[in-house]
């Protein structure tokens, strides 16, 4: 007898969509998210391409829907520790990490954070802004419950004393719960490559060389700079910006050989946004092959070129040099289409960095007993005929944890629905 | 450090023929730092780039022959020249790695009654100074600290880059800076520091070769340094002799003294330069010597 319930691991857009489709299909769904809030990577983005929707604005309703859905149990700040059984009858051990804040009492007022004396680099802003040691990852977080970051907490107890709801409980213990589900959806997403090994680009050495995710946070109204693009070195608004594509992607030596397949698109989008933010700015995109495939993308790239005057240069620059006084950057590159070697002075360089597996993906795969490819992404045994199936019946994958087999947000959403369909097939009629 | 480190001294052909200053300084300094040097009998040229390019197997055999001599002495090789180092090191690693190449080369070496076994390693003088001697010991041996001396360094590509490729490890271009600072001098950064001196194009496209060194010298001038030190005899010639050529052909005058690092080290250790050493420098180093002694 099939247990008509499911576990979804990962609360990004893929996990959210899969949960909603399953729940609406009448399947009791447990959504387990490792971090304090669902939302995932999409919540970090400013605008989405090519419609230019505000990312969080179209995501938030879905997050709330998950939170409110009577068929969905939201288990945030929790991790899957053990999985046993087979399709139709899995037993899953989940550990709820202590938030040191009682979810049922916290009203999310933020008074605690106002009083907390500890400031920590904010991972949600990919290290650019700061948050307190008791924090809400971002304003639209779901659930709206604060979390104490014990690694940085001084145990001063200020938060406890100022909390009118008496929600803070610094003695909270981890809780383990056991779930019985019929199927499992893995949607753990991706990490972003840190281009430290590509020394000639000076990331980490030159302040004004940043990654594309850091730029997204800067562009975002709720980001560390309140939607203004600023040079980390002096806060000046850059006039000339250069995007470098394929940093860590299509790279046999320092990164990953595959194409991350979203970088060209978001680079074009960000370039247009920068031109809109500051019309007198010059934006260059250094690409190898401009991969703006998919619905509406080529057309958008043409507009970026014609209407917004974004400059496209087919080249992968050799090196970046920093002027020690002004912190301006000089790119040395060959324009491969005119075959001339040139140098270009810019205020800000944005590295379109590769997407890579979650640091703990191998670990999770082991818990689930499924294979990963040589990078650590989930790999469907038959990636053509059965693109979301893992080699264990009843365990399916969707979103970027399937690696470069996935593309952008629509791909993830489709895979999520497809994954939901696979489980429905199994749970409703036992067809494996 | 181990008190009786010994190395087979591989001079190559450029140094003993043109740069006695480097050889003499090395022969004085290394023992003083507790590094024994033993001369190698009957070594030939290492088979540098020009040759490597023309006949791959020939290059392997040529370098292997020199390695065999060190194997007989059962001593690791210390090479003074970046090209020698690069050439010997790459061949040593290739032959240790690829069996059937090794057999092919040994077959050729039979005409010289030699056989490559792969029992020794190849090091550059700078490696010996950093690994075996160590910066601390060098500091302790400095009797005449070079305080206030602004020194630019030219490491030379083949000391750094092949190592990164073949051994996967290796010091970056900062290796000489560390050593120079150990002598109390100031290591000055300058544009195009990591760029080639242009030496390899000598005799193939002199004009290009010159414009490269010219470019670097201009950068050195901008950084206004007292002198530039090198770890490679080719970079040395390119800068030292090069300044004369550039002066006459491009009408650019720089007058930047060029020294082998080991020379600078010897001064810091209170040793006086000998006659030939001074005469050899086409750009006079008197200024530096006076400053230091």
């Amino acid at each position: 007898m099939m247990n008509k319930s499911a576990l979804v691991i990962g609360g990004g857009i893929a996990g959210i969509q899969a949960s909603l489709d399953l729940a609406n299909r009448g399947v009791k769904t447990y959504l387990v998210e490792k971090s304090p809030s669902i939302g995932g990577r999409m919540a970090q983005l400013d605008k989405t391409f090519p419609t230019m929707d505000c990312s969080i604005c179209i995501l938030a309703p879905k997050m709330i829907e998950c939170f409110r859905h009577r068929n969905i149990d939201l288990l945030t700040y929790s991790e899957v520790k053990e999985v046993q059984g087979s399709a139709g009858d899995f037993t899953v051990k989940v550990v709820k990490k202590p938030r040191y804040v009682q979810a049922d009492k916290c009203v999310g007022c933020g008074t605690c954070a106002d009083h907390c004396p500890v400031e920590v680099p904010n991972e949600f802003d990919s290290g650019m802004g700061v948050r307190k040691a008791i924090y809400l990852p971002f304003p639209q977080a779901v659930p709206r419950v604060y979390t104490v970051d014990k690694d940085h907490c001084l145990d001063c107890g200020l938060c406890k004393s100022v909390c009118t709801a008496k929600a803070v409980d610094l003695e909270q213990e981890p809780a383990e719960l056991e779930l019985h589900v019929g199927g499992i959806v893995v949607a753990t997403g991706f990490d972003v490559y840190e281009p430290l090994r590509i020394t000639s680009y000076g990331y980490g050495k030159y302040k004004n060389v940043i990654t594309s995710l850091q730029l997204e946070r800067m562009l975002s109204a709720s980001g560390p700079s309140g939607g203004r693009i600023m040079r980390p070195s002096d806060g000046r608004i850059p006039r000339t910006v250069a995007f470098l594509q394929c940093v860590g992607s299509r790279d046999q030596r320092f990164g990953y050989p595959y194409c991350s397949s979203i970088c060209c698109k978001y680079a074009v989008k960000d370039a247009v946004l920068i031109r809109e933010h500051r019309p007198d700015s010059e934006v260059y995109i250094f690409y190898i092959d401009l991969r703006v495939f998919g619905k509406g993308f080529q057309e958008f790239a043409n507009r970026a070129k014609k209407e917004f005057g974004v400059k496209f240069i087919r080249s992968s620059p050799g090196e970046i040099r920093e002027d020690p006084e002004t912190r301006d950057l000089t790119l040395w590159y060959e324009d491969t289409l005119t075959r001339t070697v040139k140098s270009l002075k810019v205020d800000l360089v944005v590295l379109s960095t590769a997407l890579m597996p979650r640091s703990d993906s191998a670990e999770l795969a082991k818990i689930l007993g499924i294979d990963t490819d040589r990078f650590g992404f989930l790999i469907p045994p038959d990636s053509v005929g059965h693109p979301v199936d893992t080699q264990i019946a009843g365990i399916v994958g969707c979103g970027y944890c399937l690696g470069p087999r996935t593309g952008d947000i629509p791909d993830s959403v489709m895979q999520a629905s497809a994954a939901a369909a696979r489980l429905s097939e199994i749970l409703m009629s036992g067809s494996l | 450090m181990d008190e009786n480190v010994k190395y087979a001294l591989y001079l190559g052909c450029l140094i003993p023929a043109r740069e006695l200053s480097y050889e003499l300084a090395t022969r004085k300094v290394m023992p003083a730092l507790g590094v024994g040097l033993v001369d190698m009998e009957g070594t030939s040229c290492c088979g540098p780039f020009a040759i490597q390019s023309l006949d791959y197997t020939g290059w392997l055999a040529l370098a292997a022959r020199n390695l065999c001599i060190a194997e007989k002495m059962s001593l690791d090789i210390m090479a003074l020249c970046n090209d020698c180092y690069e050439s010997l090191m790459m061949v040593n690693q290739t032959l240790k790695r690829e069996e059937e190449t090794r057999d092919r080369v040994n077959e050729i070496l039979s005409v010289a009654h030699k056989k490559f076994k792969g029992t020794v390693n190849v090091k550059h003088t700078m490696d010996v100074l950093c690994d075996d001697v160590g910066l601390d010991k060098i500091r302790s041996k400095v009797t005449n600290p070079l305080n206030g001396l602004r020194v630019a360094t030219q490491v030379g590509c083949h000391l750094v880059r092949p190592k990164m490729l073949h051994a996967g490890v290796g010091r970056g271009f900062e290796v000489l800076d560390d050593l120079v600072e150990a002598l109390g001098a100031e290591a000055v950064d300058y544009d195009d520091k990591e760029i080639c001196c242009g030496g390899p194009l000598r005799d193939i496209d002199d004009q290009l070769s010159r414009s490269l060194s010219n470019r670097k010298l201009a950068a050195l001038k901008r950084a206004n340094v007292d002198c530039v030190v090198t770890a490679c005899p080719f970079c040395y010639i390119q800068f030292d002799l090069g300044q004369l050529e550039i002066k006459s052909l491009l009408r650019e005058e720089y007058d930047i003294p060029v020294l082998h690092f080991v020379e600078l080290l010897s001064f810091a250790m209170g040793m006086k330069p000998e006659g030939p050493q001074l005469r050899e420098h086409r750009v006079s180093i008197d200024r530096i010597v006076r400053k230091l002694t």
């Binding site: 394929c246 299509r250 046999q252 030596r253 320092f254 990164g255 190898i288 087919r314 080249s315 992968s316 620059p317 050799g318 040395w332 060959e334 491969t336 075959r339 001339t340 070697v341 140098s343 | 052909c13 450029l14 003993p16 023929a17 043109r18 006695l20 001369d39 009957g42 030939s44 040229c45 088979g47 020009a50 040759i51 390019s53 023309l54 006949d55 791959y56 020939g58 040529l62 022959r65 050729i108 005409v111 010289a112 590509c157 083949h158 880059r161 990164m164 490729l165 760029i195 080639c196 242009g198 390899p200 194009l201 005799d203 193939i204 496209d205 290009l208 414009s211 490269l212 470019r215 030939p276």
Partner: protein, 175 residues
């Protein structure tokens, strides 16, 4: 850096199609150190790094590979490959491990095999085979060495034997 007048002339000279050897890519790819030509995706990181490329458009490592793959043997062998410094910067930075710096060695060895060696390189090579050294001390230096008690630089006949055996002598046109 903008193209100088001579460079412009050079570009124009390239625009006319020349006789090509369609098998050249294959030949280079199967020569020692030449495999790189098949890994290249023409991203241009090497050209953006090459010290020579910054001074002249006569040498462009990326374009060199493209010319090889198109089969333009003549350009590849005669004009381009000898301008490489072998400073290995391109190898250091190539994201594909295409190692143009290595490919150059393959090209030169092919050129040498066909007896095309620039004067400078040829002189060095001959001196090496005949004396075992590329640079030989002048008589005054020899004296000086003796007076300073430095070991003499004797010639090494074994090198000639080896060179004969590998066929290097023949390449150099020595008996």
């Amino acid at each position: 850096m903008t193209s100088s007048e001579t460079d412009l002339q050079f570009i124009l000279s390239q625009i006319h199609a020349r006789a090509r050897d369609p098998g050249f890519m294959h030949e280079v790819a199967n020569t020692v150190r030449g495999e790189g030509v098949l890994s290249c995706i023409q991203c241009g990181r090497c050209a953006g790094s090459c010290p020579v490329g910054r001074l002249t458009v006569k040498y462009n490592p990326r374009r060199l590979v493209e010319m090889v793959n198109l089969g333009f043997k003549w350009e590849a062998l005669f004009e381009l490959s000898w301008l490489c410094l072998s400073c290995f910067t391109c190898i250091d930075r190539c994201p594909q491990g295409a190692d143009v710096g290595e490919v150059v060695f393959a090209l030169r060895s092919i050129a040498a095999r066909d007896g095309n060696i620039p004067k400078g390189a040829l002189a060095m090579a001959k001196s090496l085979v005949e004396t075992g050294r590329i640079v030989n001390p002048t008589t005054s230096v020899t004296k000086q060495r003796a007076s300073l008690g430095l070991p003499p630089c004797e010639t090494v006949p074994e090198v000639a034997k080896i060179a004969r055996k590998t066929g290097f002598s023949k390449i150099l046109g020595l008996q």
